[in-house]
Amino acid sequence: MKAQETVFPNVRIPYGTWGNSYFPAWQTSPLAEVNIGQFAGEAMGRILGKRKVPRQQLEYLVVGSTVPYHWKFWTAPMVAYCMGRRLPGCHVEQACATGLQAICVAAGQVQSGTCNVAGVLTYDRTSDSSVGIFPERRAPQRTVAIGDVWDNFGFDPSTGGSMLASAGLASRKYKLDRKEVDEVTAYRYEQYYEAKKTGFLERTAFPLEVLNMQGKPMGRIDDDLGVRRVSLDSLRAMRELDTCVTGGTQTHPSDGLATLLVSTPAKAKELSPKPEIDIQLVAKVEIRTSPGLMPEAPALAVQKLLERTGLAMDDMKVVKNHNPFAANDVIFSKVMGYDWHKMDRTGCSLVWGHPHAATLARTTIEGLEEAVSLGGGYVLIFGCAAGDVGIAAVFKVS
């Protein structure tokens, strides 16, 4: 392993102060009913409470979300109020890159001395997608209404294509074999259920009980609802929607949140239940690939990241990604020469779904937790985002 200079030398992620909700598939849980900004604020307070972190420790809050919700205008201050603490903060939005980007923004706040402890809270509710009504002079009606989730999935204004079409286009470019894409998918489900069986998920996910307007329990979010075991045979039997893309080899929209803290080294030791564990953000890169080829962007981002850091794939103890299409993983494997069996050992967003902003934050949390359980090492986190963007970051756990 090569020794690396981190770009954020004064920044740490306190181990064991993080957590996420389970990610119920869209429309399957009471999360479909909530103001997700308020819910996330309250849930962060509870998760930190369970982690024995008094919220008074926080000095700043970076929130990340992509789907508009009521009072989103007020961003982090509103969400922090719901957590029970009046904090300054900002909002970060970069489609499915939001989770990782928010961590980097928080790291920048700490590194620059703005604060000693910044909270990162990412969340989205894709259920009952909010609908924006926009003035549009070029439309005959002069006004258009856009369903934030589905209408955006279906139309990239830069290319005119859909996300699903980008998966098909990239699969054709890399001449993917449908059979291998199905095998990756089946394997990812096996990995998820194995992690679940070992209790790994319970180390990072917190059950949350949702209240209705009368203050009565409306339901408990204690599972990634909507996730069902799939067999290779059933995957193979599915109708192809585009090249190598079926209902089974792509993720699904879901609702959820993920939160962690970013702090100075001293504060990390103070806040963590295991102060001897040191977690650093080493580096992060982003790239934008050719139009309509989003699934190859993560691999290109990782290439650039390794180039910048001098690290190699063999240096990575944990490799984990946001893979809305199974094709992403096969392309990554082809580009990087990396066995896809070695990735996503504790689950991934292909299986547990896709609440945009929270996705890469949960991926990161699970990756760091896995690295700790393995005795430390480098953790590679990456994924794609709307606009043919790839994002990748490497963390060092020691």
Binding site: G45, R46, P54, Y81
Partner: protein, 694 residues
Amino acid sequence: MTDSMRPSTIESLGLGTVLDIFKRGAMPASAAELVDRVFGPANKRGALVITGANGIVGAGKTMQLGRLLEPYGVPVVALDFPGVPAGLVKQYPGLVRGLGKDRAAAIMANVVQLSYDGAHLPRHLSPFNPRFVLEAIPEILEIKRAHYQVFRAEYPEVEIRSVTSGFPSRELGVGIAHPAFPHEINKVWEIVEPKPSPITALYWSLGMIPVMVSDHWSFVLDVLFTGVTLAALRYNAASNMPYWKVDKYVRRLVGPNPLRAHDAIGAKGANFLTWSCLEHLSKRYGPLFQPTASLVEKKDSGQDWYPPNHFRPMVNWPLEGQEVDEFNTWILGPLFQMTSLMLHEERAPLPQMNAIGELCAQFRDGIITVIRRHGSDAVIRTVEAYHRLYPAAAKSPWYPEAFAKMDAPEWQQLYVNAEHDGTVGVITISRESYSHDVDAELNRAIDWLKARKIDRVIVTGDFHLSSQLVGADITDFFPAIEDHAKGIELSRNWSKTARRLNDEFAVSVGFINGKRCLGGMLELMVHCHYVIAVESADLGMPEVTLPVVPGMEGCHWMFRKATPEYWPRILDLLLDGRPAKAKDAVGWIVDYAGPVADAVQACWGAATGNTRLPKRAVADKGLTGVPRDVPGLRPADGGVEAGRKAILDTIQKACEATLAEAITIQARHSGEFMATPHCRNGVVGSAFAKTMAV
């Protein structure tokens, strides 16, 4: 010579013992005489002046005292700055609701509103001849002192009392009469005076509850109330649990929901008062009382503690596993430590300190009762555990030795006292509702009298803390909702206690003095050989409205003591739930009813045997012919109807049985009904769900 388990609480007011009242055959003080002493004779009647009369306290007390003093022709001058929000105006609708338009108009016609600039008294005040100033201005020491100077310069003889919740009398230079919220109706006043004054006696004679407390920073109520608030806020800070949820758990644990109370009183004022008390206390007693940053923030902003309606909570915060124990430590630890401080400083006798929490701070059981229930060792362990959670509190005074004498009568007889003169004993109940604690204390009081060979006894309220007897404490029914065996046990035990009044004394007299005697308390009283009541008292069995089945033999005992012509009235009392006036209940509930003085004398006569009242014997054998229905009962909802059926069934079964068998039958019916959906969906079940099912 009188002997007693512990001093009567009214002795602390300089009003003698309860036994003295009966022996004298008269109350120790009369309102009319005391009004003359405080405000001058009718032809030269002076005024009560309330300053800061438009504030929450001032406006409430203007209404309360205005209502009580208007019949005596005492004018009330409401003094405040011009331009302050009109607090008195807000009180008027409540006055109309409570007393009717005519009475409200008469009371308001006796209130004169004047303005002043804070430095000079209005010249129009003089004709009213101020005799008593009740100061209710903001909690700023220098302003208060200057305020008194202004009055004394012009009216050197005027009596001044401050409603302050924090400053000692020695700092202010005037006596204290600190009232409890809600000010327009709460009768309790914490009094700081060198010795009880005529004003304090007047309060008592007007039906209020003055309680003497020591001259320390903040008084018992505020130490308890701000203390439990602070405990809740400390837990919030440590755990992140939101205020609303902490509040619910505090309510489940001890009774009050302090943060909701702040919002209900008015967060802006209440937050300031709480902060002010704690700030003063922390300066004297250290970090145990140090206000949290959240309290400082809310004090400055005046914001409510509960989230606004548009942010109704979405994430529940159930306590899990060991978290419950930790929560209990965070709340009880500081309360126990603060109480040790109050005990060390002897801030009030234990029964009074206990009652203040129950009557004014929503404590389900007073803090002394809670401590007694835990026991000395557990209390000390709790405080020590709290110090581990919050080490700063260990730097504040802590007196574990204050809990060393828990076996003494002062600790053991918080609600029930006994006195005797060698011949007649008086058992006084200082709690409005009957509970397992009252039951245990009552048994000890009976034992104490019997050990002293006293076989004549009067059972009554304490003429002080319990101004009425309202029945059983329904929180004692909560365990029975989930386990009917607990209900049966409770009913049987309480009934056994009640029977001791019938079985173990040569003469027992129940004396009903307050506004009302209902439910379990009435069941207790009717077990006495004689029941004597003030004629205006309401006597009732409202169990059916809850619905529950009376548990202390209410379904057969009164029938056994009454002749058959009264049975339909008893049945109506039980099945309708409406009370009867004592004067209309002679012969079937009570044996004598009359004006207070006559009733007191009749009671003493019956107890000593000097007055022969016809004794209504309790029938041992089963009764026949007890009616099975009451014509013309008011229509009722399903729960009440089910209650009526169950009560009727119990009446039939218990009355048909012998007296010896009836206790078991009554207990079984009462206990089993508490576990039915009718009870669970009624008042008891709703209270249980609201309080306990957090």
